[in-house]
């Protein structure tokens, strides 16, 4: 029911991690969703897809990781660091 506000908070935490200017280089936003977190994973994924498709993001993909328990965490971020492939 409140997945959009959670998705917005996940975007804010992402910005806190990488800084506003790097948000366009975020490739993946991975979120741990506990089975008892009171969150509908598909709804959260949809909200994240919508937000991550819009500037300042440039098509980052949400990745939801289902876990037991009631935690909801921003797990990790994948960021294109701008260097060519090694």
């Amino acid at each position: 029911m409140h997945e959009l506000s959670l998705a917005l908070e996940i975007c804010r935490l992402t910005e806190e991690q990488v800084g506003h200017d790097a948000l366009g280089r975020v490739v993946t936003v991975a979120v741990e969703v506990g089975d008892d977190a009171g969150v509908d994973p598909s709804n959260l994924e949809f909200c994240l897809e919508v937000l991550l498709a819009e500037p300042p993001f440039v098509g980052a993909t949400p990745r939801l990781l289902r876990l037991p328990g009631d935690d909801l965490r921003l797990s990790y971020l994948e960021v294109d660091d701008g260097r060519p492939d090694d």
Binding site: H2, E9, R73, L74, E78, D80
Partner: protein, 223 residues
């Protein structure tokens, strides 16, 4: 492209929880127990609070933060029973109160004059269970016009509550509601849940509820 991975593992609710801890500490220092009243819409939270304010609002120095999705109706109803200390929070459609809203509401209240705080949450048994507001405890209100299986349908709320108020008991002769089954369902989720049985309409059962509130209020404010 070369992709770098940043490990974060930060709780999405971390900021809310930080603010909630600040609220909790502020209330603790002021010696004010705070009850977060949660329920589905229409279970009688506001009427219960109206009776409570009328009966012991002055005696116990009760303040209320009244949350509503839209309108200030509940806060206006409550303000008729006390000439002070009702602060409305209109969430603008959001399904729950969060700690920041409560923190800002506290700024508008006279905590010096407050000995007991009620936070009347938005009527919703789902989302308010997930938001810590810095309260002492959650009290879940449900009524006999709802199903006995409410605790099973909304386990997180009943798990997180310390007390339950079963309201509208004046309607028991008219509705097929099994009190024992409702209580058993609730205690299957939370064995420590303590019950009150009230009719906020007729006043039945309110003496026990008011007695409980009197016990919660510290005899004297800390110096």
């Amino acid at each position: 492209m070369a992709v770098r991975t940043i490990d974060v593992r930060e709780k999405v609710m971390a900021r809310n929880n930080e603010i909630a801890q600040t609220v909790r500490e502020r209330l603790r220092q002021a010696g004010i127990p705070a009850f977060n009243l949660v329920s589905s819409p229409g279970s009688g939270k506001t009427l219960l609070l109206e009776h409570t304010l009328a009966a012991v609002g002055e005696e116990l120095g009760i303040a209320v933060v009244a949350g509503d999705c839209q309108t200030q109706n509940d806060a206006d109803r409550l303000a008729r029973h006390t000439d002070r200390l009702v602060q409305a929070v209109i969430t603008g459609g959001a399904c729950h109160l969060d700690a920041r809203q409560v923190s800002e509401a506290l700024d508008a209240l006279d905590l010096e004059q407050t000995r007991l705080l009620f936070i009347e949450n938005v009527g919703n048994l789902v989302c308010p269970a997930s938001w810590d507001l810095g309260e002492t405890a959650k009290i879940v209100v449900f009524s006999v016009t709802e199903g006995e299986d409410k605790p099973l349908k909304y386990p997180k709320m009943f798990q997180n509550a310390r007390w339950a108020v079963l309201n509208k008991i004046d309607l028991l002769p008219y509705v097929p509601f099994d009190v024992d089954r409702a209580r058993a369902n609730a205690r299957a989720i939370n064995p420590d849940l303590q019950f009150f049985y009230t009719s906020a309409l007729t006043g039945e059962g309110l003496d026990e509820w008011l007695g409980f509130l009197r016990e919660q209020v510290p005899a004297a404010r800390p110096a």
